[in-house]
Symmetry: D2
Subunit: 143 residues, 4 copies
């Protein structure tokens, strides 16, 4: 199984709010950064997907804020595949600062080509295989 490096987001000053902590909406953006980085590491980065004519919109997100973070905390984000079905997948995210969990989150995605849902297993079998491995390794729900 491939080695994935966690993604690190250093909180920017402009990401804080008047409570002097990271504004909660920004974690949704950190998730996108980490997800794009993961897919890049897997060899299916944005440019490759775009060349394949595939987009992967966000269908839903959940985000649990455990501890506040602040400028200039370094948030370490690890991803795993929580669920992988024929047409959908769900990523799980764990965010830590100095080893303490500050946020857990999920995002659900489908894959579209020309605006129509596609089955990854048929269209990008290799990528599907990698995702499946990340699911099994994780003990998550498998289709």
């Amino acid at each position: 199984m491939m080695e994935i490096k966690p993604y690190v987001h250093t909180v920017h000053y402009y990401e804080t709010d008047k409570m002097q902590i990271t504004h909660h909406s920004n974690y949704i953006r950190f998730m996108e950064e980490a997800r794009i980085d993961l897919m890049e590491q897997m060899g299916y980065g944005f440019e490759k997907m775009e060349a394949e004519g595939i987009v992967s919109p966000v269908m839903s997100v959940t985000c649990n804020y455990r501890k506040p973070t602040a400028f200039p905390d370094q948030i370490v984000i690890t991803l795993h595949v929580e669920e992988l079905t024929r047409l959908k997948m769900r990523f799980g995210y764990t965010m830590t600062v100095g080893g303490t969990v500050v946020c857990t989150a999920t995002s659900q995605h489908c894959f579209l080509r020309g605006g129509r849902p596609i089955a990854l297993e048929e269209e990008l079998p290799e990528f599907y295989g990698l995702l499946k491995e990340m699911t099994r390794a994780n003990g998550a729900i498998d289709n």
Copy 2:
């Protein structure tokens, strides 16, 4: 029961992304705008809460993206109280454009004074009563 006007957010150009739709992270911000507006309409706006020394951090959010929106769509946001317990509450959000549901969402909150959780029922009984009414009217889970 008091009459609450829905909140309207007009999508700004800078809220779009390269898929030419509203970036999904922005809906979390629209929720905050609508929530602050609701509390203002209920007579417990940010300034009053601040004067009472009470803050109401976001503990978690969920967001289901049903249909994309785009600049300059007018997103109409209605809120209801989904759950109200001794120390927590959960708002539910329905966002529509031209009558079509584009997004449904929730956010869970506690109330803190001096960094410690407080029971609204004891500290702000009138506000608690208003929230309870909004829960019952809605058929949601009551404490």
Copy 3:
């Protein structure tokens, strides 16, 4: 000369930073909001321009922060045309809160069709005429 209504931006909670004031980068966004609103009022809103195949990128901005603003201040933004030449125009912005100037700014634009600069005077003479009137009324530099 046509009557233009000033644009009002109410500062959102998420637009503040840990200094508990509106983060300075957001004023650039308020300028865009006000500019789009002005062009809409002039009858040359984003949709009309898009239908004409014309885009109007920002070439440069300047922004002078006179007084901090905070959530939930209502910032009143008035625009004028500072300069109008064959291929470029510059808007000037005055932002006030309760009558006090909090920020003055400018933005310079060109107009492109199919990626190539166009002369508004020839392509959209009526719009050019309106802009010219706004320049003269203002005593600004005229081509």
Copy 4:
């Protein structure tokens, strides 16, 4: 004279807009990132300044957009001191992608302690000395 490493900002997907380029407001944020990084490298990072009770608000910015950038461009940002007077300083920024200048910008700052302007030369003479060196090296206006 100390060696300063340029700052690199990789454009995030959520920083693009419907023209499929980096939204122009974000460059103001990249400038803040680069400025904070520079001051950290100089040994006068945010935490040290805060410990000294000093804040350095942005008085004004200018930004010239030379070429559009896009996701996931790596923008290399170099700073220099353009002007250093008793109470104010101005940073200049040059942003490049692959060696091509995409944006030039400036930001002007004062230094406050307890809300009152202070003279860096007297309060933080060592930091002032470093800034002065960066000014001279650059051939910029010196006090």
